[in-house]
Symmetry: C2
Subunit: 345 residues, 2 copies
DNA sequence: TTGTACGCGTTATCAT
DNA sequence: ATGATAACGCGTACAA
């Protein structure tokens, strides 16, 4: 009675009457194997049901066959952001079919981001990482490079980077929102932005100001940390000030929903007194009342594009810079004609 | 000029003047090493800055030092559920300090759940998994056991299980919501439930019915898939029917917010005409108008308790069954006194 | 084409 | 009781 043991490469070699090394060559489709031996080897392998051992391969190649995402945002902010789930689903779409695995690490106040990357790198728990929420002068790029990891950035960094990037022109999304509002007759428009330290926060704010200038509008921008709390607070400030905007463009849906709550609490009707737009087109926006006009990006497609770019880089490809389809504005009930000005009414 | 190379156990052995094997024994605190040698070995290791190679250890022990979470819900449903982020943060709190890594896998319609578990298991990408969203007669328990993985379940399964479980009495949360509504004078109350196939969906529905019976209320339950879309649809049905409820208890916040939208669209005032309660106490509930009365659970604590239980199991501990603190009802603006009945008004 | 050394920690076996 | 030695896992790379 023989113990059920997983077949090793040595078993295959014995079975095919060749050496271990040759088996490895044959199975990796490399030259230097006669077609006769190759056939015998492949046959033996399939006879025995052999599959390579991940851990042995890992030891001899130094690769881990895993990629990582480090979540650096505070749990509260990220917890409510559907973007990440979609992104991760997109990454998984790609990783799953290529034998990679996705490692998710959370940087906490206690364990800083840099340490988290270092931890993943010095055990080489991952071969590469996806850098999300790019920041101005992002230190992580140099860090990750120094740690010897591959990476792909979501969006083009503003610093020198040896890594591929996959970008979405979220500025275009903001521009279409502003154009939509301008066409509806709004003049005094506000933007509840993300933090200027985050590139997409800043990029959207820049796009907002540029689009407002183009349309000859009177813009105002308030920065937040992307959380519902700060979104609500910013809205409160904007609406209780003297020269109140008639439209607010939010940098994400989450803040837009919170802002809607604030407006309603102040007795303003949306969109009659105030138009609002979100960003991300989350599921919920469709069902609230009024339903939310929002900029739709395809986070899942973004994730799979990023995953592919990372895998390419891991197999030695040169860095590339891909631009995904422009986001589109989904117009719903939360935007409407600007209220006629008090002077005219 | 010598190449900078990571010190191996052989280097430590040479440095300490002993054999490789003895070094391993010493470093793993195993008997058979004289205190003198042990001291020399530990010194040599720290001199050289030696740390064990994860991949070598992995190869020789067969462990991967990673744990997995397989997300089985459809991306749309999960994308909006903050529960997972908090859960994962809690798991990471524990894993990070114990050298484990969290592997996140997403089961898609294309790649079924069972295959996903199998994929993780036969390369032994993970040593154990966290089973979330337990289902009635959950097949995954037998599957995971057959695959030779350790596991911990979130909630007690209704089938024989060799694994530890960590539970939250979400039924108590629902009961407190129903009691709150009963105290406000509501008689005709509805529950927009999760799917009966999911244990927490069913458990909450059961708790709702039991609590309603206790309070002598007139209950109705509608099952959904936990999505905003079905939550909205269920609400529409409930509110356009003849004997309309004066209060709706939702099985999650997401559906409650969608339901709120539907009610407002129908011209109902919340809470004057209709009271609603959510479950999870998500961030957003605080900021919408009216703010949402909701059952608060501590998903992060749940995650870390589950993580600890899994690690214990991996180091050979017997299965345990832990119950976490009961969820609490956070009362906000979306619940109020029952409208006086038409007959009396 | 083939045999063999290598990567590296763990553990079983054997010697003192 | 201590310690050394060698086998093990398994794919890869290189010299023969």
């Amino acid at each position: 009675m023989t113990v059920q043991r997983r077949p090793t490469i040595a078993d295959v070699a014995r079975h095919a009457g060749v050496s271990k090394g040759l088996v490895s060559y044959a199975l990796n489709d490399r030259p230097g194997v006669s077609s006769d031996s190759r056939k015998r080897i492949l046959e033996a392998a399939s006879d025995l049901g052999w599959t390579p051992s991940l851990r042995a391969r890992s030891l001899s190649t130094g690769r881990s066959f895993a990629c990582g995402v480090v979540v650096g945002r505070s749990p509260d902010v990220i917890a409510a952001d559907p973007f990440f789930h979609s992104l991760i689903a997109g990454l998984e779409d790609v990783f799953a079919v290529s034998g990679q695995v996705l490692v998710l690490a959370v940087a906490t106040p206690g364990r800083k981001e840099a340490e988290t990357y270092r931890g993943l790198a010095d055990d080489r728990r991952v071969d590469g990482v996806v850098l999300t929420d790019l920041r101005a002068g992002d230190q992580r790029i140099a860090l990750v490079q120094r740690l010897g990891l591959q990476a792909v950035t979501l969006g083009r960094p503003d610093v020198e980077s040896p890594f591929s990037s996959v970008s979405v022109d979220d500025g275009a999304g903001i521009r279409s929102a502003v154009a939509h509002l301008a066409a509806l007759g709004h003049r005094r428009v506000a933007h509840v932005a993300g933090p200027p330290s985050m590139m997409h926060g800043q990029r959207r704010a820049d796009a907002f100001l540029a689009a407002a200038a183009d349309a000859g509008l009177d813009p105002v921008v308030v920065a937040t940390d992307f959380s519902a709390a700060e979104g609500a607070e910013a809205t409160q400030r904007l609406l209780s000030g003297g020269d109140r905007p008639t439209a607010i463009v939010y940098s994400n849906d989450h803040m837009a929903v919170a802002g809607l709550g604030v407006a309603q609490r102040l007795g303003l009707r949306v969109p009659d007194d105030l138009s609002i737009t979100g960003f991300d087109d989350t599921d919920l926006g469709r069902y609230i009342h009024p339903s939310l006009t929002s900029v739709a990006t395809d986070a899942r497609a973004w994730g799979s594009a990023a995953g592919r770019a990372l895998l390419d880089a891991l197999s030695g490809a040169a860095p590339t810079h891909a631009d995904l389809a422009e986001p589109t504005l989904i117009i719903r009930e939360s935007t409407g004609p600007a209220p006629s000005s008090p002077r005219r009414g």
